[in-house]
Amino acid sequence: MQEWANQLCENRQFGSKMTDSKYFTTTKKGEIFELKAELNSDKKEKKKEAVKKVIASMTVGKDVSALFPDVVNCMQTDNLELKKLVYLYLMNYAKSQPDMAIMAVNTFVKDCEDPNPLIRALAVRTMGCIRVDKITEYLCEPLRKCLKDEDPYVRKTAAVCVAKLHDINAQLVEDQGFLDTLKDLISDSNPMVVANAVAALSEIAESHPNSNLLDLNPQTINKLLTALNECTEWGQIFILDCLANYTPRDDRESQSICERVTPRLSHANSAVVLSAVKVLMKFMEMLPKDLDYYGTLLKKLAPPLVTLLSAEPELQYVALRNINLIVQRRPEILKHEMKVFFVKYNDPIYVKLEKLDIMIRLASQANIAQVLAELKEYATEVDVDFVRKAVRAIGRCAIKVEQSAERCVSTLLDLIQTKVNYVVQEAIVVIKDIFRKYPNKYESVIATLCENLDSLDEPEARAAMIWIVGEYAERIDNADELLESFLEGFHDESTQVQLQLLTAIVKLFLKKPTETQELVQQVLSLATQDSDNPDLRDRGYIYWRLLSTDPVAAKEVVLAEKPLISEETDLIEPTLLEELICHIGTLASVYHKPPSAFVEGSRGVQHKRLPGSAGSGESVDSPDPASAAGVTEAPPAVIPSQGDLLGDLLNLDLTPPTATGPPPAPSSGMQLGAMDLLGGGLDSLLGGDIGGSAAMGAGFGAAPAAMPASFNAPVSGGLDDLFDLGGSVGMPMGAYSPPKTVWLPAMKAKGLEISGTFARRAGVIQMEMTLTNKAMSVMTDFAIQFNRNSFGLAPAGPLQVLTPLSPNQSIEVSLPLSTVGPVMKMEPLTNLQVAVKNNIDVFYFSCQYPISMLFVEDGKMERQVFLATWKDIPNDNESQFQIKDCHLNSDAASNKLQGSNVFTIAKRTVEGQDMLYQSTKLTNGIWVLAELRVQAGNPNYTVSLKCRAPEVSQCVFQSYEAMLKN
């Protein structure tokens, strides 16, 4: 001891002796030994000093576990501080010395009977922290007593202890009935006990997703609401989070809960505020929108959210991530609060970026001038990432608010004039998007853009510039020179730029054929002969063949009108958004991912959905009669021809192929047969819009809606040539076709038996029939006619039975169908009434065609369009079906469906459940959006279909089932 004191005086100035830092100074050898001696000293004071030293060593991560028996010996004391210190030590080291820890049990059990509630609580609290199985057995009896203790302080501590024990040994907790006791505590008279019971139950429930632990009913809700007003701020958070899981019975209950929760919005603790916002956002869904209270509530939500933004930056960040969700769900709440999201120059970067995002979401015609002025200001800041994002934001504003486009363009031009390299490049990328959204409107700026050609060194900016030059080649006098200058270093460019350059030069050639022949030949040979990139080569070949076979068709394809890009980018999927709204204030809301996707140990968390509205307000959203009747009234589209196929094929995305697995070389693909290659394989390989840079994909534009029929033959001929394959139109492709069934039995048709099926081949619907003559005489003069039907199906040509049909002879006929016939809604929808005539008589029969025959090849929606459409279609139009006993994994299912023109747009995996988002277009232009959930190991799939014409859902579902099971 003397030695230690001397050392102390040597090492440190005397003045600091009174502080705890002295405990850090004993780092010499033999330290443990010294401490041991001190711990066993008779003097209380020495003991306490020694324990303090031990604790200090422990906190800085030194191993002092060797002192375990000596420290435990100090536990039997009436000095509360010493006792607490020993407890601290025990909690840390009991795990590594379980046998020794047993020594402490007796003291714990004794302390649990102490007359001082503080000691009782401390004992039960510490025991729960000792994560040793042997100790937990001894803990049960004291814990049971403490849960029923007369003192609420002890009860509330014991409640938490149940959660601790559950963490160590869940079975034990259940067997001992502690869960029931805990549930009883929800009705405790003391609000603090209630809050802790709720917190403990919530934590236990997290690892038991299906247990009905927090069985919320109106009575318990009432108790929770009462406790809410009186418990601590932390307790309020637990209670509010628990309330958010409740689904009120009706809008009146919902309103009364909202009324009682609203005062929490004025709490000083931001976590309380945000949890209250969550409850209100969720329960608001149930209130009718025409209710006065609904409007009042909306108004009350804005100020607390704004106040969160004046808190510390870390709090601001979490608040902003949540506000991002809230403005997507209910933009009206914060629409007048734009200014609070303006960026201060000394905000941390993570706050700046979030604010920017919300500014764009809130941008509208009313505030766009202010927003643009701000964004322009930000574009001159120091931080490069932030500047880039600000420039992008200007582009997003232009696309979002049409009236502002002109102003945005001029702002971008101003920025280009600054000549700051990264600003210019960013600006060019967004101007390209603006051109896509408003074609032929702002071309006057092209000259300015061209001036900056040389300074572009980023692939995205170069590709954007090349796209602009190609797209507007006819207005740029020296377009050929500009593109030629890029061509010099062709092989050093990134794939993105190469592909774009190829397309741009072909466009240029089609616009100015006379002067640019040499250029186009040069680029085609560069792409096809000198490149190792299969995408580039394939695109090159296609252009080449297209140009050499039929320049007119090439023009139609390459210079086709492009679909406009969607308005709102990076919106969260509506189902996910709904789920996230239920998780406001949690980690899920910070990451914008469902909680199950990333938090460990919460497997099988139930997905939360917003409750539906009970009121009349929703009626505005219901489908209007016109669109509901769309099935019959929609104008029938032209027969999708091979032009579509080709268009699809050309709808290449500029992002490098990210499809799983290496892209097969063209030679191996050929064995599949030309049509298959075009219909399924290539399409999914090249057209897969996985990268999400949808806007760029436009370089090529999507397929023309329908190609004039006259082009079909040469184009397809050319393609066949190209691949040097004789694959005929009749070759079967991936589309599902049901087996033939007997449509007309011989008995009913004087000996003529017709069995048949439908198939879709190369974009043409085929009615395939086997005609069998079971009569005694020869049959001739066959003809066929359809009654009016739901989708306007009609024979595209006469029934080709050229030779007379002898008795007992069968003949296979394939009848191409068009969808331009007269339309009448049938019941069931896919019913087709057919009349067949021969030399004997006219026979009538009806058959049903699978609706998948009507799925056209260009039924792939852009991701963003899909999102927006899904959101747009009211929930009433959603129907859900189960497909049982299907043993495909999601990829196989996706491939299978793709063969039948059901296109998978996105895939999301949530806790082993794959969600496929798919789109399908019918021949008459009706879109059907689907969400297919596939759980690994579960043969039952769930399909949710959304469609503006909900009548078709049932048929589509049947097709899904048929397609997947065959």
Partner: protein, 418 residues
């Protein structure tokens, strides 16, 4: 709930760890260090960092990162609020919250953390209760304890923890009963080049120092309570009374506390007490730039603008500044490019100005960015929103307390763009 806490100093060393459940290896902080390295400025470290098995939620205060480790879904705001509360408590206990202070009081820190969380659930976070459980260290007490062997841990059950007014302990006694309230308003504003206001808002607080015997019940009323439409209250305030009568009615905690904070947003008229005339220009091709700044008061209702401090981050290309202040002193740090000018008080008769030249790197092009000017100031005896306390009454106790109310306006984030 909160699993563990690590305290990390500016140089990236963990100097304290505390675990409330099983021990989490400190190697989990490697993910934090990675993020710290990536961040250009210390304050740019993202507050939520995912790691394969845990989430790290951190706050930065007093140049110390308080890194909480969580494993399951926990409201991040709850964690952040709690961490700030920890810092506040340390500050309350030790006067300052520095690495040295924490190390000097490591055992108290440990006891405090143990008392504040149980199994990750907050247990006692009210300073009143904590102080009853664990006495704050004072030089005197440490001396006395060392000599007499007394402890600094309370033996009694803290009464507040169970009462309906958990924020107040019973049996408070003072010889001088006094209640002071400070109305402090901070103006956050962004002023654009031309001097017009882009955004302006007021963050106001009423901080109280109440030393009253017994269980006093106070009411505070305002002349113009309509100003307060966006308020956050201390839990002691009776919300129903406020909703109905716009009167603050409460049983105060003992000692210092924040009674309420409020927000006056830009929709209401926010007066801007100072204006800046500036001319900061660089000419293309010249290695000189002009710097000209003049400050003046406006809308101050006759009160003096004091403790004015102007700072600005000049463009990176600026090598040095050669300026001439009409009053006060200025410094320019050629490394960080931070210009700061300590102006003092603004005299309306003779406006303070700072004029001169800046030298640029020879041959360098004109800087792209426009410096933003940050202004700090104070105005005594005025709340810029016009908020005024009408009266303060006390019920429940018989004595006459001494009452005082002070007003002050300060600049918050007050920025002028050039």
């Amino acid at each position: 709930m909160i699993h563990s806490l690590f305290l990390v100093n500016a140089s990236g060393d963990i100097f304290l760890e505390k675990h409330w459940k099983s021990v989490v290896s400190r190697s989990v902080c490697d993910y934090f260090f990675e993020a710290q390295e990536r961040a250009t400025e210390p304050e740019n470290v993202p507050p939520v960092i995912p790691t394969p098995h845990h989430y790290l939620i951190s706050v930065l205060r007093h140049r110390i990162y308080f890194v909480a480790v969580i494993q399951s879904e926990v409201p991040p705001l709850f964690v952040i609020e709690f961490l700030h509360r920890v810092v506040d408590t340390f500050q309350d206990y030790f006067g300052v919250c520095t690495e040295a202070a924490i190390k000097d009081n490591v055992v108290v820190v440990y006891e405090l953390l143990e008392e504040m969380l149980d199994n990750g659930f907050p247990l006692a976070t009210e300073s009143n209760i904590l102080k009853e459980l664990i006495k704050p260290p004072t030089i005197l007490r440490t001396m006395v304890n060392t000599i007499t062997g007394l402890t600094n841990v309370g033996e009694q059950l803290p009464t507040g923890q169970l009462s309906v007014v958990p924020w107040r302990r019973t049996g408070v006694k003072y010889t001088n009963n006094e209640a002071y309230f400070d109305v402090v308003e901070e103006i956050d504003a962004i002023i654009d080049k031309s001097g017009s206001t882009i955004t302006a808002e007021i963050q106001g607080v009423i901080d109280a120092c109440v030393k009253l015997t017994g269980m006093p019940d106070l009411t505070l009323s305002f002349m113009n309570p309509r100003l307060l439409d966006d308020v956050s209250f201390h839990p002691c305030v009776r919300f129903k009374r406020w909703e109905a009568e716009r009167i603050l009615s409460f049983i105060p905690p003992d000692g210092n506390f924040r009674l309420l904070s409020y927000h006056v947003s830009s929709q209401n008229l926010v007066a801007i007490p100072v204006y800046v005339k500036h001319n900061i220009t660089f000419r293309e091709g010249s290695s000189q730039g002009r710097f000209d700044l003049t400050l003046g008061p406006k809308q101050t209702m006759g009160k003096a603008v004091e403790s004015v401090l102007v700072s600005s981050q000049l463009p990176r290309g600026v090598l040095n500044a050669n300026l001439n202040p009409s009053q006060g002193t200025y410094t320019f740090d050629p490394v960080t490019k931070l210009l700061s000018w300590d102006v003092g008080k603004i005299n309306p008769q003779k406006l303070p100005s700072l004029k001169g030249t800046m030298s640029l790197q020879a041959g360098a092009s004109k800087p792209d960015e426009n410096p933003t000017i940050n202004i700090q100031f104070k105005i005594q005896q005025m709340a810029i929103s016009g908020l005024k306390v009408n009266r303060l009454d006390m019920y429940g106790e018989k004595y006459k307390p001494f009452k005082g109310i002070k007003y002050m306006t300060k600049a918050g984030k007050f920025q002028v763009r050039t």
